[in-house]
């Protein structure tokens, strides 16, 4: 026995060390007596009641003693937290009383790296933030840079951008359908969602050369023109996905188990959603028709026909229905893009931001030097600061850039929709069952790369 004891002790010590290593101190949730009043209200999901209105005591027992409840930890390595989200929950039996997300496990320092990259290179950085919808990231960034530069983008580039971001919205929502299905136990939906997404990714690969992280939309236009015969490819994508959305309807929408897990669960009101700065499907599920594509049109969204999908109850099922129908609306927009795609340049011909064409580099020394300068030093952007917002699949994606006149942004900040939307977790989970937390995380649809940046 004596030779076993040291090993056991050592492993206990090691366990304690590991726990100490992974502890995040004040970022975690604590017992009620150790939590301040404001913070307690926030974790209870009662932030909106700070202006005098009391919590409804019938809804949840807010004055519960510590020894009746239990604080548990979910994540950061957990199958249903969509990456590395960590949530601490206070439970009374199966009922969630308090919850607090702990984030930062994927903090990549992208805003710092963005200050080190020139405006030309910046696209490679922002595209890795929201890895489910890289095109919208690049678009938000490029539009901010273009605003600072005060340049116009050719019409064809605008339409290509719009088509690509709508294709990306489809693929993003399809991954959401897949993971949401998996969270609820529908593994077939997982397979189907990723199967349809491959169609779109194949087109992306054909156009931009990569499946994810395209760096396709760049300041001044797009990186390359659409490949020959793109109309046929996109037609096939549209037809297939349009038909398949009705299969999802059959598989999920009317299914009793699916509906019972989603309907009426985690409802919020429009007032709460606006106060919490929620955007995207979360806000629209409460009935607020706020979609930047319609309300503050950018690109050519004012020239295409589509519907803004809104919900009524603000519950999980509404958020599911909105995303499913947004896939259909995206198909509609993409079909109009095929018809109305103008001819012309795919990037601006402003020599300040656009390199000379490949053929000219071979014959002209000046063109070669120009090309070299553009890709080593980059173009200079006038002094100023700008905030540009677009509608990403998850909500308002804003890009705030401060320029000091140099070839690199002085400060680049991205308003990530998932980062803000995660604040709804305490409110949505409050009073729900433990199993509902999974659907809540799922329907918020956080992409941790974007949350932590």
């Amino acid at each position: 026995m004596s030779d076993i004891t040291p090993t056991t002790v050592r492993s206990i010590e090691r366990e304690a060390l590991l726990v100490a290593e992974t502890s995040e101190g004040a970022q975690e949730m604590f017992r009620r007596e150790q939590t301040g009043a404001d913070e307690l209200r926030r974790e209870l999901g009662a932030v909106l009641k700070v202006d005098g209105r009391a919590l409804d005591p019938n809804n949840i027992d807010v004055e519960r003693d510590d020894d009746e409840t239990m604080i548990i930890n979910m994540g950061p390595s957990h199958p249903s937290t969509h990456g590395v989200l960590r949530i601490m929950l206070e439970l009374d039996g199966e009922t969630v009383l308090r919850s607090k997300p702990v984030i930062g496990y994927l903090h990549t320092g992208m805003e710092k790296t963005g200050e080190e990259l020139s405006y030309v290179q910046g696209g490679t950085n922002v595209t890795r933030m929201d890895y489910l919808s890289p095109v919208t990231n690049e678009l938000g960034y490029s539009m901010a840079v273009e605003k600072l530069l005060n340049i116009e983008v050719p019409e064809r580039a605008t339409w290509i951008r719009m088509m690509m971001s709508e294709l990306n919205r489809m693929s993003s929502h399809l991954v959401w359908m897949a993971t949401n299905g998996m969270d609820l136990g529908s593994t077939s939906m997982m397979i189907y969602g990723l199967r349809e997404r491959e169609l779109i990714l194949a087109f992306f690969e054909k156009t931009a050369g990569l499946r994810l992280n395209l760096n396709y939309v760049r300041p001044g236009g797009v990186a390359a023109d659409l490949p020959d015969g793109w109309q046929d490819d996109v037609e096939v994508i549209c037809d297939t996905i349009w038909a398949r959305t009705f299969e999802y309807d059959q598989l999920l929408t009317g299914q009793t188990i699916f509906r019972q897990r989603l309907e009426g669960v985690a409802a919020i009101t429009a007032e709460e959603a606006i106060a919490l700065s929620l955007t995207g499907p979360l806000l629209r599920s409460t009935g607020v028709p706020w979609d930047l594509r319609r309300t503050m049109p950018y690109l050519a969204y004012d020239q295409v026909e589509f519907d803004v999908i809104t919900g009524t109850y603000g519950d999980n099922f509404d958020r599911y229905a909105i995303r499913l129908n947004e896939i259909r609306e995206s198909v509609r927009i993409v079909r109009q893009c095929i018809e109305m795609m103008p001819k012309g340049d795919f990037r601006t011909q402003d020599p300040k931001v656009t390199p000379p064409p490949r053929a000219r580099i071979d014959e002209s020394m000046e063109a070669l030097i120009h090309h070299f300068k553009l890709f080593t030093e980059g173009f200079h952007v006038p002094v100023g600061e700008v905030y540009s917002a677009i509608e990403s699949p998850r909500g308002e994606l804003g890009c705030y850039i401060v320029s000091d006149g140099g070839p690199k942004p002085y400060r680049i900040h991205v308003r990530a929709p998932s980062f803000v939307n995660l604040q709804a977790i305490p409110l949505l989970m409050r009073g729900g069952m433990m199993s509902d937390t999974i659907t809540v995380i799922s329907t918020i649809d956080p992409v941790m790369g974007e949350v932590d940046r």
């Binding site: 390595s77 903090h107 320092g109 490679t124 890795r128 991954v175 994810l212």
Partner: protein
Amino acid sequence: MALEDLSHNFLTGSLEDLVKWARRASMWPASFGLACCAIEMMAAGAADFDLARFGMEVFRNSPRQADLMIVAGRVSQKMAPVLRQVYDQMMEPKWVLAMGVCASSGGMFNNYAIVQGVDQIVPVDVYAPGCPPSPETLMHAILTLHEKVRTGEITRRRDSGAGAALVTPESPWTPEVPTAVRLGTPK
């Protein structure tokens, strides 16, 4: 007993080969998806690429049931101790596959927040390049690992690289202090 008395066919072979064959053919990955690569890992497990062909479609969520940790994505300083803890919870024999450049070397994010290569924390067997690696690259990496398992030794897994420092004759178990110490604040 003479051979001609037997009523059944049989094969002879070394036990080691059998064990290695079994390990190779029933490898269960732990789902340790972090960033972009995790999406491609999911895609590799889905219909079009179908990891089930290699007996690997079951991603275990408990590290206790997994043999292979696919580190899919960038590892931040905050995540490093967690990753090490998950690795320590896995049963021997275990393998690590660094998927993507961020996990392999830090990739384009050479800054304060990202661990410059997951091999600073856990021993890595196979590195898969790409940002993110396509599912084909991941499958190639997995097949490379299978080959490594099939041809390697069964008792001592690692003879070079980061793994050697952790498994030495003097300390047959992993060190008490995890190497996943926060790497300090860069100045």
